[in-house]
Subunit: 466 residues, 4 copies
């Protein structure tokens, strides 16, 4: 999520910012810019480079205006059709508005039902449309007041950007599940999920928006409000473990440094005699480095990644199976053959990819494999914006660690402890949502909100370029 107020070529800056945030969502991308109160919108399914290929890059010039908000879609709820790609923009009584958000609204279905009962129609399955309806029905004085009034009714995780062509409004939910930064580029105000997106346009890091804070950029400059009912902050610790880019700073800490400390903790907690430490690229690189330095065992790159694959590799045929992993990673035999290896990964979800990777290492002659996981076992679902599978599909909810070790075929398997993980962040345990690790949810869950079942639904058949 990326926003600009007050810069010429705001859409182009947003396009660059979305490139830097691509890791946060690969299913769709969109930009809404504004000029003289008129909004222009361009969205598409797929990566930023799918939505803005060479032959469409000139569309950026059509996105006129000195303010813009942009979004990359990560699907946790709703289909991947074009209708669900954000930002969503509409006309309403006071003109036009556009909204984009990260996260999940746990009472979204309930609010949708209430709105429908009042005659509202829905064209997407995105929660953003719920927010937009609430804003449109608000009688607040300024646009930001209406946004605040809408947010007050929403329970869950959201970082949000909205614009009506006069203001750009940025908000974090009172628990602050997802990150959101304020930056500055000359006279322009920038909003970005992570600092890496400020870096790409050479913007200055100003500060993080606080949980429950609403920040408005307008001709009045930058204003801050705290109109929402406060709650105990509980940022998502999994942002440090997996989601965020290592070169970003979020929730006050460098992701890179937290990951190195996760590795160092693992080394202290589960030492082992070995010839080398290696990572499953790329999200565990920093953890493995931290482990290697702490354990004083050489860090090596035993896997080589094919940089030309991306999301474009298509498995050609039913008869040739399991190329999915091999096409992306290959083992460097000379590095691993005959070696005792500490293999570090960020997390284990289903366990299927880990199994393939370990098999590749064995085939290449690894003598011992000691598997170290930077976070604790994932035992429960996330309702706040991370697409973990249903509980039953989480390997750690179904097997003991010893059973998992056996299933994966490794010599030893050690997970990080919850305390070790929290300690690596340098912040108190109460300061995080740890629900996927300990089933303690900071809010009611979706099924806690009464809602009648839907009987019918309209769906779009995808009409994208193939």
């Amino acid at each position: 999520m990326f926003g600009v107020y007050g810069a010429p070529e705001a859409a182009t800056l947003t396009y660059l910012g979305l490139y830097a945030l691509q890791h946060r969502g690969q299913e769709g991308a969109g930009i809404v810019s504004a000029e003289d109160g008129n909004l222009s919108r361009f969205v598409g399914v797929g990566l930023v480079s799918d939505v803005f290929p060479k032959k469409k890059i000139h569309r950026l010039a059509d996105l006129k205006g000195n303010m813009a908000i942009g979004h990359v879609r990560y699907s946790t709820y709703g289909s991947s059709s074009l209708r669900n790609v954000q930002p969503l923009s509409v006309d309403y009584a006071r003109g036009a508005m556009a909204i984009a958000h990260n996260g999940n609204i746990v009472n979204g279905a309930r609010l949708r039902q209430e709105l429908e009962e009042q005659g509202a129609i829905f064209q997407s399955t995105s929660d953003s449309e719920v927010v937009i309806h609430l804003v449109a029905r608000s009688s607040g004085e300024r646009f930001c007041d209406c946004v605040a009034e809408a947010l007050e009714r929403m329970v869950g995780a959201y970082s949000l950007l909205a614009t009506n062509g006069e203001e750009v409004v940025a908000a974090r939910d009172p628990r602050g599940f997802r990150p959101l930064w304020i930056g500055r580029l000359g006279d322009a105000h920038i909003f970005a999920s992570e600092t890496c997106a400020l870096d790409i346009i050479d913007a200055e890091w100003v500060r993080e928006i606080e949980p429950g804070e609403i920040v408005v950029a307008s001709s009045n400059g930058l204003e801050s409000f705290k109109p929402l009912t406060p709650a105990r902050p509980s940022p998502c610790i999994f942002e440090y473990v997996y989601v965020a880019r290592p070169d970003s700073v979020i929730f006050g800490e460098s992701v890179d440094e937290v990951r190195k400390r996760l590795g160092a903790n693992l080394a202290k907690q589960a030492p082992v005699e070995a010839d080398l430490v290696m990572a499953v690229p790329d999200s565990s690189n920093q953890v493995a480095l931290g482990y290697a330095h702490a354990a004083n065992i050489p860090f090596e790159m035993g896997f080589i990644r094919n940089h030309y694959v991306g999301r474009t590799f298509i498995e050609p045929d039913q008869s040739i199976r399991d190329f999915g992993v091999k096409i992306k990673l290959n083992v460097s035999r000379s590095t691993v053959a005959g070696k005792r290896i500490v293999l570090v990964d960020d997390s284990i979800v289903r366990g299927t990819t880990s199994k393939k990777i370990i098999k590749m290492l064995r085939r290449a002659g690894a003598r011992e494999i000691h598997f170290r996981i930077s976070c604790p076992p994932i035992i429960d679902s996330c309702y706040y914006g991370i697409d973990t599978p249903r509980r039953e599909r989480l390997i750690a909810s179904q097997m003991s660690t010893e059973e998992i070790r056996d299933y994966l075929g490794v010599d030893s398997l050690v997970y990080q402890t919850i305390d070790g993980m929290v300690e690596a962040t340098g912040r108190p345990k109460e300061g995080f949502c740890l629900a996927c690790f300990n089933s303690e949810y900071p809010t009611p869950r979706p099924h806690d909100f009464e809602c009648s079942p839907r009987r019918r639904r309209n769906n779009d058949i995808s009409n994208e370029p193939e």
Copy 2:
């Protein structure tokens, strides 16, 4: 506009029907099918063949269900972006629904403003979204009751198809501006704007829906209602002159026969000594035949049409001008050189194309050109679904017939009279909207409805395959 209730492969039948109705709109096409109350939607900009090219034809199989409604978009209001392509489908309190309509709602902007004042949001500029809001807010018992309640509030021209996955509802406005047929294919009920679309799927012609009638196809069979406040019917006479396909029957008469009588009337009204009668292809062919037979002058094909052009010809360069007409039509010199010609056209709007065509004839050696127009001078705008330009751009609102004759460079120019035109239809004068010819509008006009000016608007930048 085409609809099916009760046939397997309803979407495929609709696809074929839309092909036959392509002349009614070339800016977008879409189909919504329904199965078990779930709607599936596929829409795109351009021709039916652009929306369903070879590589996407399999999408028809994704449009499951035994009922479907389809639409080809002809733009008179709202931009050509994907958002405006019909049918529009939404979720609302009672499930899902989809709506498509032809024509224009003259109080559409007024209704939109009222809805917005009640908190409604709009994602398109299409009047269909207004209808959908009104249906969603209705408390009628059945879906068709809700549609009726919505239509009662709408003033203007509409033929409409709607479905909620249980019923397919078809309606004509009380004045019956646009045609709408009921057909039958085995046990299935078919709805189509013109009979040519029934022919393409070998469906039986049952009857035309009457002005103000609502017809519902459901598990109850076919039901008819007349819940709307009646008005004097005023079908659009321009459907006979230009819009409809000659092989269709509408408003009770064969278009083909009406056009031949238009030609015969012209021959009687404006006889001239000539060697041949020829048409500006293709909409005036039947008029020219009627003229030729009545005047006993040979009908000839002096223009040859290039069938490979369609809408795909792109003028390559600024330096090579005016190929637009020549690439589509060429004169057969041997036919026209040295001849006295009666040239027949359906109508004159701006006059610019006529001027080019007449110049081509002169260059090819035509000795005399007597220009005969199948309808009277067009002097005013249409607010009921025909995209005539603003009054000032209509040549007949700016010049006398003699001035136009001089501007076009023809030896004589005769327009049909209003009475002659009406007489050719075989129906009484009171039975038609003649507003573009005589400025007598059957309804208030859009600016007669009070409406505050819009300050802001959201627009989609087109993201179509290019």
Copy 3:
């Protein structure tokens, strides 16, 4: 086939010319332009509008130079892959050259084999590559001499354009099977298969190239040579019947006029009492007009053509059959119901399409159908560039006229006589190739040239945009 010497934007003029010649070939299109002796080439499969869609129209600007040759591909020999699209261009000892041709070389396979035995390699299955090899091996002084030397070895039907970036060479084979015109646009020399392509760029018609003549446009102006061994001219009479556009003049006569005389002859030869005369659109329109005028029976348009179909209609499903014809044509019921009809078509090849069309007429209520064919029965294959099927698939080689009448389900069926057809051209019988009607071939046939069978072949899998 279209060529330009001496005009700026030669490629753009060629693009326009190819549009006008699209009816001569729909499987591929290409242009080679030349500037300072460097050739630039752009080719693609499909229609001109497929090869130069909106997003590629700027490629015309890359085709620099004031000379160009262009081609539309009609497949009679060789696959439709990109490799076979003409013009073909190569580098050889004296620089670069490009060649395009219409027609068929009956000793092409034999020449290819001889060249391969001398070490030549072939990248296409097009005869143009044979010509190019022969030119490259010639020791003639000028480029046009080398072309002449190559052509002297070739037997068959060809109209040809070639350029080496200094000269544009145009040639017709000694029998003159296919047409080729010289035009003039300001100071530029134009070559075109038909006059309709001269018309589209407003070029003056100069004269037709004669059988066996080679015309060279260069800085010397226009030069004419007759270096080839003369033969009795035998232009293809089927050009008048079907191939050429009615607005063209070829072989000295207006196609339009010849077709009207074909119709008039039929009327005299096979009169019948009827209510109307109608054509199977569009190639028989002029024949039907000629018949109607001569028989004094009204000409009517009983079929309405859907102009939006073109080649893009894709039949969606196995279960919905035979839409191929119905999607293109519909019957106007009011015109044909209860009527005695003279139905005119240009020719009958397999008879399958005729059968469908007649069935449509019967369903629409036609009382009598008298089928009149503008040419005699087609009983044998063409080896000169027309893609007639193998002898066994020609209905007239398998059935008597009475059997065909019965098969088609018409009340009467009359073909033109050979003498009637020739008489309509206004030229002597000896002046035409009539082989498909009387099996008298003006040259040896392909199998008369000894040639060893090929065992292996390389093929391109199509890589075109889909």
Copy 4:
């Protein structure tokens, strides 16, 4: 370059192999398969994933047969048009053949001229077409004999695969500039430029083809010949430095290990007091690891690579400059701020990218930057298949090391020595081509072969999907 003999789905295996070899060429990709002596070819411009996108993956099934050869194009000579994409396939006197090669033929232009003087025509500017002509003109008994006869006339660097649908022939030039492996998958014989491509299909590594060796896979099994005039082997040392993937073994050594030794040598040769060692990702990762381990300085990842960029990033606008590097790499500030850094890169060519990278490090707060280069200064052009710019553009041919250090703005700059580089390979100095480092070319250079200048040329305007 990848080849298969004797496996069903040979084309699909080749497709996978090309994916693993994508780093060796990104400008085009193609596959020719063979069945019953018939060749099928599919080629395109761009990456393997551009040539075989989702909608074309079914083309693999059209590439029938149990043998195939494939190629990824790296442009050093000839334009990137479709004509130049390999493998090239042709028909000739004995049937069909296809050829692909890596490297450069230094007497290619001379041979082309000789062939043209004998009447040959050329449709590409690729040296492969020269080879094909020579093979077609050979009178050798078997296909492999003809290939050998052709290769005997060729001077330069080539690893080559060829097939006539009966044999797959693999060859390395007598000096063995480029790598080429033999693998085995069940009963099938595999050929691949590097072992990483054998790994991807789980093929066994058999052995490297020797310099000057020709290996033939056919129904006779695998045969080896050494018909070419021997020369002193001189494999390209730059394959170790930059070209090959680290997980491959080539020229008898693991690339990974050689790179680590290059790093260790640098550490010994140019020690410095520092806080961390980091690489310019990704080709110098192993060198940096080797340096860090030898110097006992922590290895860190100071640059984070954006994995979603690939080749698809398009700079949107003239006004926003220099995003090329920043979009791919970002600095992790917490890692580098205030630190003394050893920055390792594989090589410096022009120096422009290095300058940008160093500027990014400085902006992020790096205190000292000590730049270490894994190879010696590049001072001369390559004529053997690496696309180094012309001598004048090589920074090391224009500036002293001190001048370069100053230009780049680093605290110290040390290049590897030639002896250090060779020593890291574990092989004798005479065993390599070091021409780009010491200007000693193992063969005559292109301009040493007399050749008349070309005056004219034919070029294809690209017709690729955009």
